[in-house]
Symmetry: C2
Subunit: 354 residues, 2 copies
C-alpha cells in the first residue's frame, strides 16, 4: 500500500483510530523530555547514570543479573544468538518460520554471523515441545517469540513453555526469549516478567510496541552474557555516544503503560468479539491472549479497503490504516490495543460494527 | 582515568573550558526540538519526510547522488567497505594503522564482515601516494581519514589527495572518505565539501564532532551504493523505526555550526600557538589544519594532571578534562575547538598561559 493510500489518509484523520497509543510524531519525544532536567548528562558510549540506572531497573524487572540497552531488537537478538553459538561452538539455532529474524532483517543473522536457522512448527501454530524433541539437527539455541506476532500473537500454554525450558536445559540448548511484547502477555499467563524470564537464558524486550516509546530494546541475561553483548554492540555500530533520547522515552512510557497491560488485554478481547460477530470475519487467535490479534476477512483486499474507508468516513472509527492480501479472496490486518481504545465512545464503536 | 577524577570534575565545573561546544546533556536535545512542530511525523524505518529531506540536503552538500542517514559512523563505514569488497569479490581493504576501524570498533570489520585490512603509513604521518603505489597486496578499497584524528588531525597536501584518487581510479581501487570531521578541514583546503568528495567513491560524515549534534552519521555515494547500504543497515540493526531524534538535532546543529568552521580553524591556530610558546610543550600538528590538534608535554601524566588542575582552579580555564600517558615521561591530550572558545575572555586565557 502506498504512502498516500486513501485508507491510510482516512485512518490518520479519523476521530477514533482503534489501534495503538497515538500518532508517531515528534510530540511523543517532547512529552517524554518535558519533565527531564536539561542538566542531566548524556550517557557516553554505554556508560553514565542515565543508561546504567535504566539497565539496572530493567534487569530487576526481568529477574536477570544484567541488562544492556540496544538501539534495536534486530541488533540485540542477532547478538544474543551469536553469543550462544560461540559458546557452544556451533553456528546453528532454531526458531519459528515466521520469526522476525527470518522475515524482517534482510538475513542479517546469516550474512553477518554465518548462523543457519532450523525452522520449527509452521505458519498456523506456535512451537511445541514435540517440535523441539524432534529437531533434525543439534542447535546452540532455541528462540521462542511470545506472543508469535505474525500469527496474530498466539501463545503456547504455560505448561508447554515450562516443559520446553526443562528439555532445553537438559540438552544444553540455550533458550532465548523474543519478548518484544513481553509485558503484553503477562496478564494472560498470570505471571510476572521475572517468572517468565526465569525459563529463559536470555531475553529481549522492546520499548516501542505496547510500551509506546520511540525505539530501543533491552537484552538481559547473566553478567558474562551482558559483557559479551556490549562488545558485539560496539561491533555492530550500536554503541552510540548517546542513546538517551531512546532511554528517556522508554523510561517515560514504560512508567505510563506497563501497569495497563491487563486493560489492553481485556479491551483486545472485547474488540475481537465485535469483529467475530461480523459475517465472514474471524480473528486469530479467536480469543486474544495479549493486546493484539489479526482480523481475517473473506473479502479481497480492495473490497475490504473500501469498506474500512467507508466506515472511517461515516462513523469516525478507524479500524485499520492498511489491509494485506491473504490469497485472492481474503485479506487481513493487525490490531494492537493501546491507549487510544479506551477513549473511543461506545456509541461510535457500536455504530461502526452495526 | 576514572569517572570521578579530580581533573575531570574541575574541568566540568570550570568557568571557561576551552574544548568543544558545550556540555553533552539533555538540554542539547531540548534546544534542537524547541522549534520543531510536535505534529511532525516520525520517520518510519528509513522512510518519511524528516529523514528523506535531510538525506537529500546532505547528498547535495557532499555532491553525491544519494545519502543515507545512519545511527553511527562505525556502522556506516563497515558497510561502505563491505559493499566495495563485495563488488570487487575481495575481502581486503587498506587504511591507516590508527584508523577508527582498527582501534575503536572491537574488530567489527573482521568479526562481522571477514574483511582483512592492509595497514599503510605509520603512527607519525598520513598515507601518501607512495604508500598506495607500494601496497604489497591488492585491495578492494582504500579508506582515507581526513583529518587523521589519532595523530592530532593531520592532513595530506591536497595535490597528494588528488594523485591518490587518480591512482585508485586507474587501478580500480574504490576510495572511501572517513570524513567524520569533513567540514572541519574545508577552510584549510579552501575547497567545498563536494570538491573534496568528488575525489572519493563514498563518504561518511559525522554529526557529533565539529557539528555538535547528538549522534548519527551520513553515508553518501551513488544510487546503487546507497540502496545496498540500506540493506546492510537493516542487517546491522540500524534501520530503526525512528531516527528523528538524531536527524532533527543533526539538522539543527549543522545549521548553527557549519558556517563557523573557518572561525574554529583560526581559533585552533591561535590556541596552538599559545601552547607552543610554553617550555616542553609542542602541538601536533605544530600549526593546526582544522579545528583540532594534540598537545604533547614532556611531563609524566600525573604531573601534567596536577598542573592542569591547578590552572583550572586558579584561572577558571579548563584546558582538558583528561591527560593520556605517552610513554613514561611524556603525556598528551586532544583539543577540538567549538563554540566555547570564542566566549573565553582573553585576559583569563593570557593568565592561564603565563
Amino acid at each position: 500500500m502506498k504512502e498516500n493510500h486513501p485508507l491510510k489518509q482516512a485512518y490518520s484523520r479519523s476521530a477514533y483510530p482503534l489501534v495503538g497509543h497515538g500518532k508517531r510524531n515528534v510530540q511523543v519525544l517532547k512529552d517524554a523530555l518535558a519533565g527531564v532536567d536539561g542538566d542531566l548528562d548524556s550517557d557516553m558510549y554505554g556508560s553514565g547514570k542515565v543508561i546504567e540506572d535504566f539497565e539496572a531497573r530493567m534487569a530487576e524487572l526481568l529477574g536477570k543479573p544484567a541488562a544492556v540497552f540496544f538501539p534495536s531488537g534486530t541488533m540485540a537478538q542477532q547478538i544474543a544468538l551469536r553469543i550462544w553459538c560461540d559458546e557452544r561452538g556451533m553456528r546453528r539455532v532454531a526458531y519459528h518460520p515466521l520469526c522476525h529474524l527470518e522475515l524482517h532483517e534482510e538475513d542479517g543473522l546469516k550474512e553477518l554471523h554465518g548462523i543457519a536457522p532450523v525452522l520449527l512448527a509452521d505458519r498456523e501454530r506456535t512451537i511445541g515441545l514435540a517440535d523441539v524433541e524432534q529437531m533434525p539437527e543439534e542447535v546452540a539455541c532455541l528462540l521462542l517469540e511470545l506472543p508469535q506476532r505474525e500469527i496474530g500473537g498466539q501463545l503456547p500454554d504455560y505448561d508447554e513453555l515450562v516443559a520446553i525450558s526443562a528439555y532445553c536445559r537438559e540438552k544444553g540448548i540455550k533458550l532465548h526469549l523474543d519478548g518484544a511484547r513481553l509485558l503484553e502477555i503477562l496478564p494472560y499467563y498470570g505471571k510476572t516478567a521475572a517468572e517468565v524470564c526465569d525459563l529463559f537464558d536470555s531475553v529481549y524486550m522492546s520499548f516501542y510496541k505496547g510500551v509506546g516509546g520511540i525505539a530501543g530494546a533491552i537484552l538481559a541475561g547473566d553478567e558474562a552474557f551482558a559483557a559479551r553483548s556490549k562488545v558485539w554492540k560496539r561491533r555492530h555500530g550500536g554503541d552510540l555516544i548517546s542513546l538517551y533520547p531512546y532511554i528517556l522515552s522508554a523510561d517515560y512510557y514504560y512508567s505510563r503503560t506497563a501497569h495497563k497491560m491487563a486493560q489492553y488485554y481485556e479491551e483486545a478481547k472485547e474488540l475481537a468479539a465485535l469483529y467475530n460477530a461480523c459475517s465472514g470475519v474471524a480473528t486469530k487467535p479467536s480469543v486474544p491472549v495479549s493486546n493484539m490479534f489479526h482480523v481475517h476477512v473473506r473479502l479481497p483486499k480492495e473490497q475490504l479497503e473500501s469498506i474500512l474507508l467507508s466506515i472511517c468516513e461515516n462513523t469516525g472509527i478507524g479500524m485499520s490504516s492498511y489491509v494485506a492480501a491473504a490469497g485472492e479472496d481474503a485479506s487481513c490486518f493487525e490490531v494492537s490495543i493501546g491507549d487510544r481504545y479506551a477513549g473511543v465512545p461506545k456509541d461510535a464503536l457500536r455504530q461502526a460494527f452495526r
